[in-house]
Symmetry: C3
Subunit: 445 residues, 3 copies
């Protein structure tokens, strides 16, 4: 039985991967990203140091379904200085200080006018909020409420040294071909500046997932998309409409680094195989989790699950967006996301993909009554350890349900056993000639 | 988008309607109704002052399926008088005093014999019970148990000045044609004398529902039946068998005036659209309610849901029959049924019919990815009020699910939103050309 | 309406049957059974005194699917004696003393070597365990742990005077032809020596079930199998493969004599008619019970439910195997299984089979509206007793659901009434010409 060699990693491998992912986040944290511009380009360049990445440039003005690729935004400097020339709000201290996608400005304004362009979070007076002005002609600054309250009534110089001009939208694509052309899509948004959970965590987990899969035998082909939110997937879908139907399963990765329990938001279909597999994986993870139903808001699953595509794409997160106070603030920083949390999220993704990879359908070659396991030493072969009873039951379940109408995943679900246990039983039975794969039925569900 | 103008009434409109319905009940209360006879005729005449009503007369002896239209019963007087000539039980005090459909009698009887024909409620010694002797050759009187205990051992004169002769069965029909010939049936029984909840309440709500629909644009055609119980719907079904199949949805209205929580008894099908809509309406009503499953007992839904018809007809009530002590007694009077309770029942019916009227299926015209709502000012258009977030979500839900396989009602159910909110979102999207109706698919479910 | 005369037995009949079944157990208890040999032959001979039984002999070496019929085991004597010649472990005291299917031996061994062949239950020091060495070349003795601890360090003579040679596998078959060739299978294993609940209880209940059915009119044909565990049903299935498809429903009977609540383990299909009927029967039994889902372990349902057959065969038990301490020990004796427990188990089986026998599909002959029951005296006919309301409701349910798409069992399930009540209502309606059987639809489900 040819099968993937994507095996369950050990705890120390997970811990190591967690640390490496955190280092990647540290590397990417200072870059000022937006939906277009050099911030994304630089981000993709560094991701490309870990995995083979094709960087695509789509010209401003390109029609992508109902949308048009917007101008490219690049920022050189941004600050507000007081009459003495002190930069009291300064992009060099935090990318969040400038409202993302602000139009350029250079002006002297009174405090009252300035205030109309300032954003704070009164409930968290030390935190800087993250704000954007995509698709609207505006500018602004973000600062802590504490600092806001200390502003004196004087004239301020406002400088946003940015360009908002025709250029390109940039995204990255890592394609890993497998045995079959059916694809698994992993998508994460790369447009947020200096925010860790949203979404350097998703970028880091996607990158290391691609790394792990890149060095494994793959049944499925994998497509990793590193795209700006909303306009990114819409652009990709518009430019690749012909091959969208190859995507059989997918995950949007976002907010996978905080300390909250796992959350899986199902695809629009609600009971797609990926939905069932993520549910199985989290149920057997021994960790707290929740499964939430699809709703047409949130992240880029909105686009993949739009009615014209209706892909089997769910969203894997820890705490859902806006349900943690640090969301879209300067408190979503490198301390907020810990290596172990990243490692554990990566592990759940790998476990789920291992189920996908190994989910095949077999036929019991002795379907009339039970085959005699004893004479084949099968009770012995699996015996010895404390899981003996569970493993024997897995052999019996696999034999009983391998009637061509149940995949290994179906068997795992019906028997209540972990997929891994059922898969191991199937491998033993294949070795003894008691099972044979049913060709072309790997997706029976 | 052509749509009904049957809009959600205001609280004061409901209160006014409640008072008017109560006045109609007061008007009808004194009439001595039965399954046939002038009581029903006079009742229909007065209903006809509110809505256009066709009164049908079906001759005694007409075969209607397994039944035969019975004799017509008319009563001029009925009393029991003592030896001094005092009318101690007197129909002029309450129609309930005579057992309904009693055969005529004029006799002098001893107390012991009289007692065999008397009915009381020992547990409620002040109340007069309501009894009938349909389809059996009998006579009797009903009185309070208190009065019964005071009867002296003397000879009594018993007079029931009634006729039970060949004549007609009378029922009323109010047909309101709509855009399409598919019909919604509203049925209530009109055979009970001087009982308010059962069923002057149903008559009043049906009448005002017909009034409200009569002055609205209607997609569906509506048929209101004011019929004697059991034999009435059987007669109507037998005489209109050819057009029964036009009835797509329906409600039997009864006991809608007491102060108990709403009750909806599903159709025999159990999950017909009307069942789902009534459930949705009550779930979102903010009032206590229960949904009970069909059983082949109760009111005229028994006939509409007989296996040969199996119509999508449920029964809307407040407290179900026989579950309140006043049921079928003189305590089911004009004080037992209050205007607000009638108004609120009417409101639930109107709300449910508004769902039926406005339940259409649309196609998202930009199904690939989300359309750009911002450039159309759609976030602004719906914004401002406190329901903004809910309304934005409704826009997104409608866009996401308008794939031709979901009606607006399906979308309301899946999104957990009120139908009204979803419908309003659809109207906005239609205005912006983002949705188009899918012709002929209005009933996709 | 032709119907079975298998009526609900009275309590005293059940009590009598319980006692007779216990007497049969007493008769069979002393016989030393195994999967092959004279123990089974003698057991079948005695069962054959109660019911007509065909005894089949299948030669050693016969290939039956993946298995081969094993050697025949017969035992004349078995003991361990001390140096003084005292038989300290003696098969004449209990058949359990010898490991079942032990190979012959005659040797003198030291205590240390003997101990490698001894089996005890330290937690229950007075009980003798039951052990087997099927399909392995071994020998051994079982004894109480108390006795084990008293063994002195001396030389022991070990004698197992057994033969393990080419011969036959023996099983019994009682076939009761019915109106139709569709079969109901009742199977029980007959290989355990001197253990009452497992499985003289199953043998006794199966025998008396066959006795009861033998003297009744039968719609179904019934096949009772008295077979050694595992190899027995595999042999029967292999030799009767062509006619297996006649088996439409079935039960494995085992462990039906202990005092625990009833347990029904569903067929592999999970929702077969027999599964629904057993669930219905136990739900209405007024006794504690549980329904457990199929799993591919336990008794001979494993073979009947193997994927090549996937028969509608469940397993009826009281406490499931290994969940009571007496399981497979000398404590599973004649006192452990009481007559009333056997009687009650028999009663549940009979009740369930009565549902199967009487489950037919009828057509309401007056499907348009309700037929007029009053004029036929039907309210009177069923009246009088305290169950009147329930019986009237049954009449109405049967009329309402006899549309050709609901069997009587479906009607019982939907109405929440006992099958018996629904069946009685149907019989009355058939008598009055209101129902007619829909030929060939008896299994509509």
């Amino acid at each position: 039985m040819s099968h993937t060699d994507l095996n369950s990693p050990t705890f120390s491998q997970i811990a190591d991967a967690g640390k490496e992912m955190h280092r990647l986040m540290e590397d990417l944290f200072p870059i000022c990203r937006s939906i277009t511009g050099n911030g994304v380009r630089e981000t993709l360049r560094r991701i490309g140091q870990h995995v083979p990445l094709d960087v695509r440039e789509v010209p401003t003005g390109t029609q992508v379904f109902d949308w048009v690729v917007p101008n490219e935004w690049n920022i050189a400097d941004a600050y507000v200085s007081d009459t003495k020339g002190n930069r009291i709000i300064d992009i060099r201290k935090s990318n969040l200080h400038v409202v993302n996608y602000s139009r350029p400005i250079r002006a002297t304004v009174a405090l009252s006018e300035l205030k109309e362009h300032l954003h704070t979070i009164p409930e968290h007076p030390d935190w800087i909020p993250y704000r954007t002005s995509y698709y609207s002609d505006n500018w602004g600054f973000c600062l802590s409420h504490k600092q806001f309250l200390e502003l004196k009534d004087e004239a301020y110089q406002v400088v946003i040294d940015a360009t908002l001009e025709s250029g390109h939208l940039t995204y990255g694509e890592c394609y890993l071909p497998g045995e079959i052309s059916d694809e698994v899509l992993i998508s994460c948004h790369v447009c947020h500046p200096s925010l860790c959970n949203d979404n350097l965590s998703g970028i880091a987990v996607a990158t290391f997932l691609a790394k792990a899969l890149g060095s494994s035998h793959r049944r499925y082909s994998y497509r990793f998309l590193f795209v700006p939110g909303t306009i990114g997937p819409i652009t990709w879908l518009a430019l690749n409409a012909a091959q969208v139907s190859r995507i059989k399963h997918g995950l949007v990765l976002t907010g996978v680094g905080d300390s909250g329990p796992f959350t899986y938001k199902t695809s629009r279909q609600g009971n797609a195989l990926i939905d069932q597999i993520m549910s199985h994986t989290l149920r057997h993870s021994g960790k707290p989790y929740s499964i939430i139903e699809f709703f047409p808001y949130g992240y880029d699953e909105r686009q993949y699950c739009s009615p014209g595509f209706d892909l089997s794409v769910g969203c894997f997160m820890r705490t859902p967006h806006s349900q943690y106070p640090e969301y879209h603030t300067s408190a979503d920083n490198l301390a907020f996301v810990q290596p172990d949390q990243l490692g554990d999220s990566l592990f759940q993704c790998l476990t789920a993909l291992m189920v996908l990879e190994n989910n095949r359908t077999f036929l019991n070659q002795n379907p009339y009554g039970e085959p005699q396991l004893g004479k084949r030493g099968l009770y012995k072969q699996i015996g010895g350890d404390s899981d003996k009873a569970k493993k024997e039951m897995a052999l019996l379940w696999v034999l009983n349900l391998c009637d061509g109408r149940h995949s290994l995943f179906d068997i795992a679900e019906r028997s209540g056993q972990k997929f891994e246990t059922v898969h191991a039983a199937a491998e033993i039975l294949v070795e003894h000639g008691l099972l044979k794969e049913l060709p072309g039925a790997s997706e029976v569900c």
